[in-house]
Symmetry: C2
Subunit: 232 residues, 2 copies
Amino acid sequence: MNIAVLGTGSVGQTLAVKLHSLDHSVFMGTRNVEKSLAKTGKDSWGNEEVGTWIKSHPEISLVTFKKAVQSGNDLIVFAMNGGAAMDCLGSVGEDLLGGKVMIDITNPLDFSNGFPPSLTVCNTDSLAEQIQRKYPSLRVVKSLNTMSHLVMVDPGKISGDHSVFMSGNDHTAKSLVASVLASFGWKEHCIIDLGDISTARGTEMVLPLWLRLYGKINDPYFNFHINSAQAK
Amino acid sequence: MNIAVLGTGSVGQTLAVKLHSLDHSVFMGTRNVEKSLAKTGKDSWGNEEVGTWIKSHPEISLVTFKKAVQSGNDLIVFAMNGGAAMDCLGSVGEDLLGGKVMIDITNPLDFSNGFPPSLTVCNTDSLAEQIQRKYPSLRVVKSLNTMSHLVMVDPGKISGDHSVFMSGNDHTAKSLVASVLASFGWKEHCIIDLGDISTARGTEMVLPLWLRLYGKINDPYFNFHINSAQAK
């Protein structure tokens, strides 16, 4: 497929590399290509800035958000910073987004008051719903947002079963997303379709617990597993 | 121990029976004993109303909130409806609550707009923190609030590992709660101490996901497991 990855942070980088390794053509979108190329060294999390990273990944095209969606027209992987999410989509525009399938990984985290971050939207709404309302013909599937990016693309690094959720209104879009998840190594019975896009409230609201667990476990290789195996 | 169970719904009933079976003396607290005794039949969830239930459980004393804490002075199990939580504690009073250990199972669910409920507090605060702030010398440990009451007291009904969380500021109180959890059958490595009481935001905010999963699985015997087992 031709895939747009919107977002140049560690989540976008990891997804882009994985998708390319699976023979997809990947177009990474950023607000300003020149400014992104000028970002070198490491960010505050110790991850490579995109300007440094892209030099060792010539197989990935770094282009504007709009060009990424124009070229990566089979699937949008939305891996933005929560605060920049709506601006990014605004720069792509409704016409181009219409009918596209989007895996929305973005969490509405607000780090402005330090750690732990709060959510900019939750409880009676979610970022996924905001996106879906603003772009009704975009087929949003919230998924992969409840784990480290390292687990997203390599679930086999954790032994035993663990879960990935999907929320979305469009069944065909969820089938496509499930096939992408399966190509990453997710077992079919570990992919949980929660229902419509409003169920994304639940997975976005898991982030505060995930962040506390990350602080405690101090290793990104953990995940939620929904254990419903009844004892004999 | 002498244990106060505050709340007469299915969570309180299930905990009371389990604690009595473990040779504790259980004092179930309610706002108005006469009114509770007059509640018969089944509630809207299909659970026995307390007036019916108590007749087949003469081993449990049904008393006022205040008398329950006076008699059940070793541990308070807080299993109230979220909306009635602060009124309940107000009727017990600060003097009596001071120094006590409380397992806070109550979730701040608001069903006033139907299903799914929203939370009355979340994101930058939690019900557990509200209780702890209002009663600084009460030793609040948020726990057991992320699963069905049937799983709380019988974790062995789900095969394999699954997790129970604890949040609280007082280490001695958390040790006591952990020992109670162990007596219910919780394995030591499945009891996760998340940290101080502010980490209860994370577990209370899991409820929206839990409720959607319950709607999907349609069976109370499931639970979150934090899988951090790295593949060899």
